[in-house]
C-alpha cells in the first residue's frame, strides 16, 4: 500500500505533460487516421455529420494526378535540399571552419546561423526577393551580362530547394562542427603520415568516426524538411499550377481552399506515416543513449 501511494505520488508531476500531449499531439494523430476515412468538409451537410466512407479518400488520392506528383516533388525537395544540400554544405562548412582564421570563422558562422535563426516568414520574404525576376540574383547576373530566368515561375523547385539549403544548412553545420571537434586528431594525422590525401582521410577516417552524427542529422533534417510549409507557400504558393506543391502545401490547399477536410486529412495521414517511419529509424539509432 505504501509502495503504491509513493508510486502514484511520483507519477503525479507527469500528469500535466501527459494531458497536454494526449490532447494536442496524440489526439490529432488519432483523429487524422479516423478523419481520413470520412467525408468531413468545412461547409455543407458533411461538415455537421461526416460519414464513414472507408478507403474512398485513399482511392481518390491514388487516382488524383496531383497526389503522385506532389509525393514525387516532396521526395525531390527532401532529397536535394536536406539529404544532399544541407548535409553536404553542413559538413563542408564545418570542415572549412576548422581551418579558418578567427575573424573569417566568426563572420561565416554568424551569417549562416542568422539565416537559420530568422523567423521563417522573414526568411521566406528574403528568399522571394532574392529569386524574383527583378530580384537580387537576376540583378547580379545582369551585371555580368546574363539575363536570368524568372526563377519562381520557370524553375520553382530549384528556387525553393536552394532557399531551403540557405535556410537550413546552419543546423547541419552546428551538428557536424560538434562532431568534428570530437574526432581524435591522432587518427587523421596518422592517416596523413601514411600518405592519405585529404579526400581519402575524409572518406576513410573522419566520416566513419562521425557516422552516428551523420545518421542522426540525416533523420532530423529529413523530418524538418518534410514539414516545410511557409518557405514554399510564400515563395511560389505551390505554383505555378501545382509545380511546387509538396505534400504540406497540397494538404493545406485541399483542406482549406477546397474545403475537403477528409481528403486533406488523408494526405496528412500519409505524411504522419512517412514521418513516423523516419522517427522510428532515428530513435533506434539513438537507442543506446536513452537506455
Amino acid at each position: 500500500m505504501a509502495v503504491t501511494s509513493r508510486g502514484v505520488a511520483r507519477v503525479v508531476p507527469l500528469a500535466p505533460a501527459v494531458v497536454l500531449l494526449a490532447l494536442f499531439m496524440l489526439g490529432p494523430v488519432v483523429w487524422s487516421f479516423y478523419g481520413s476515412f470520412t467525408n468531413a468538409a468545412l461547409t455543407g451537410p458533411a461538415a455537421l455529420s461526416p460519414e464513414w466512407i472507408g478507403f474512398d479518400n485513399y482511392t481518390a488520392l491514388v487516382g488524383d494526378p496531383d497526389f503522385p506528383k506532389s509525393l514525387w516533388l516532396t521526395v525531390v525537395f527532401v532529397f536535394l535540399s536536406a539529404v544532399v544540400g544541407q548535409n553536404v554544405m553542413g559538413i563542408l562548412l564545418a570542415g572549412l571552419l576548422r581551418s579558418a582564421v578567427r575573424p573569417v570563422r566568426s563572420i561565416a558562422s554568424t551569417v549562416v546561423v542568422a539565416a537559420w535563426v530568422l523567423p521563417e516568414i522573414v526568411a521566406a520574404f528574403a528568399a522571394y526577393a532574392f529569386f524574383h525576376s527583378e530580384g537580387t540574383l537576376n540583378t547580379l547576373l545582369g551585371g555580368i551580362g546574363i539575363t536570368g530566368p524568372d526563377w519562381l515561375y520557370s524553375t520553382p523547385m530549384l528556387a525553393v530547394i536552394l532557399a531551403n539549403i540557405w535556410r537550413g544548412t546552419a543546423f547541419s553545420m552546428m551538428v557536424y562542427s560538434a562532431a568534428l571537434a570530437e574526432v581524435p586528431p591522432e587518427l587523421t594525422e596518422a592517416a596523413q603520415l601514411d600518405g592519405a590525401n585529404g579526400l581519402q582521410r575524409l572518406t576513410w577516417v573522419t566520416l566513419p568516426v562521425i557516422r552516428r552524427s551523420i545518421s542522426t542529422n540525416l533523420m532530423l533534417t529529413t523530418l524538418q524538411t518534410l514539414s516545410v510549409f511557409t518557405l514554399i507557400y510564400v515563395m511560389t504558393g505551390g505554383g505555378p499550377g501545382t509545380d511546387s506543391s509538396t505534400l504540406p502545401i497540397l494538404a493545406y490547399q485541399e483542406a482549406f481552399k477546397f474545403a475537403q477536410v477528409g481528403y486533406g486529412t488523408a494526405i496528412a495521414t500519409v505524411m504522419i506515416i512517412v514521418g513516423g517511419i523516419f522517427s522510428v529509424i532515428y530513435i533506434r539509432a539513438l537507442r543506446p543513449e536513452v537506455d
Binding site: P16, F24, M25, E120, I121, T216, L226, V261, Y282
Partner: protein, 294 residues
C-alpha cells in the same frame, strides 16, 4: 584502414607541423577564401531586407539607396499594423514558453530522479513527439479545434503551441536536470523536505541557465511560427506579427517593399537578440543545435 588506426601516432606528431607547412598554408588560404564566398552568398538575401528597409524607393533588387531614410519605419509604426501584432506575438510566445517550462520541469523531475518501469517508454514517446512533423497534423488539429470550439482563441493556440514544443523541452530539461547531482537533494530529503520542495529549493536554482535556454528556445520557435497561428487564429486583432506581416505582404507587397522590409526587420530583431543571449548563457554559439542533438 585498421592498419592506419592501430599504428602508433604519437612519436610522429612533433615533425608534422614543419613537414606539412607549405601545403597547409595554401589549404588554409583556400579554406578562408571559400568560406568568405559562401558567407557572401548566404548574406545577400538577408542584406536585401536590411538595405531595403532604409530605402525610400526600395525595389526587389539589392541596391544601395540614393537616400537613407527611416520613413519606412515611421509609416508602419501604427497600433493596428505593428504594435498589436507584435504584442500578440509576445503573448503567444511568452505564454507558451511559460507553460512549456513549468510542465517540462514537472515532467522531467520524476524522469530524471526515479527509475520507473514506464519512464523509458515515456521518453521514447517524447522522442517520437520531437520528430512528428507539426505541419502534417495541422489539418486534423483544425478539425479538433472546431470540435472543441477553440478556433480563433488565443489561449487555445497558446496551449497547442506549448504542447508541440513540450517533447523537445522535456528532453532538454531532463538532460539539464541529470547534470544536477542528486546528493544535494538527498540532504534536503533527510531534513524532511518533500520531492516538490527539493525540486523548487535545490534543483531549480542550480539549473537556472538551463531553464532560460529552454524558455528562449520555445519563445523563439513560437515567435517565428507562421503556420500554426495562420490556421488557428482568424480575426486580425488576435493574429501575431508573422500572420499580419503576411497579410500586409498580400495587400501592399507589390508596392511597398521598403515597408515590408522594415516590418520584417522590426519583427526579426527580438529573435536575433535572444539568440545572442542564449549563446552568452550557454557559452556556446551552437547551443540550440547541441540541445537538439540530445
Amino acid at each position: 584502414m585498421t592498419d592506419t588506426l592501430t599504428r602508433p601516432a604519437a612519436p610522429a606528431r612533433s615533425g608534422l607541423g614543419t613537414l606539412a607547412a607549405p601545403r597547409g598554408t595554401a589549404t588554409k588560404v583556400a579554406a578562408n577564401v571559400v568560406l568568405l564566398v559562401i558567407a557572401l552568398c548566404f548574406v545577400l538575401p538577408m542584406a536585401w531586407v536590411l538595405v531595403a528597409s532604409f530605402d525610400a524607393e526600395a525595389t526587389l533588387s539589392f541596391g544601395l539607396p540614393d537616400a537613407v531614410t527611416t520613413a519606412n519605419f515611421a509609416a508602419i509604426m501604427t497600433p493596428e499594423l505593428t504594435w498589436l501584432p507584435l504584442w500578440n506575438a509576445f503573448v503567444l510566445s511568452a505564454g507558451s514558453g511559460a507553460i512549456t517550462v513549468v510542465v517540462a520541469v514537472l515532467a522531467a523531475y520524476p524522469l530524471s530522479r526515479y527509475r520507473m518501469r514506464f519512464g523509458k517508454y515515456f521518453l521514447y514517446s517524447v522522442l517520437f513527439g520531437t520528430c512528428l512533423p507539426i505541419t502534417a497534423i495541422m489539418v486534423p488539429v483544425y478539425a479538433l479545434f472546431v470540435q472543441l470550439n477553440l478556433l480563433d482563441s488565443l489561449p487555445g493556440t497558446i496551449f497547442f503551441m506549448a504542447a508541440t514544443s513540450l517533447p523537445m523541452a522535456i528532453w532538454m530539461t531532463k538532460n539539464f536536470m541529470d547534470s544536477v547531482p542528486i546528493s544535494l537533494e538527498e540532504a534536503a530529503w533527510t531534513e524532511g523536505a518533500s520531492a516538490m520542495q527539493a525540486l523548487r529549493r535545490v534543483v531549480l536554482p542550480l539549473m537556472r541557465p538551463g531553464i532560460a535556454v529552454v524558455f528562449i528556445f520555445v519563445f523563439v520557435q513560437a515567435w517565428g511560427n507562421f503556420f500554426v497561428p495562420f490556421v488557428l487564429l482568424l480575426s486580425p486583432e488576435k493574429q501575431p506579427a508573422a500572420v499580419s506581416i503576411f497579410a500586409f505582404f498580400g495587400q501592399y507587397g507589390s508596392v511597398a517593399y521598403g515597408q515590408l522590409a522594415a516590418y520584417s526587420l522590426l519583427y526579426a530583431a527580438p529573435v536575433l537578440g535572444l539568440y545572442v543571449l542564449v549563446t552568452r548563457i550557454s557559452g556556446s554559439a551552437f547551443a540550440l543545435a547541441g540541445a537538439v542533438k540530445g
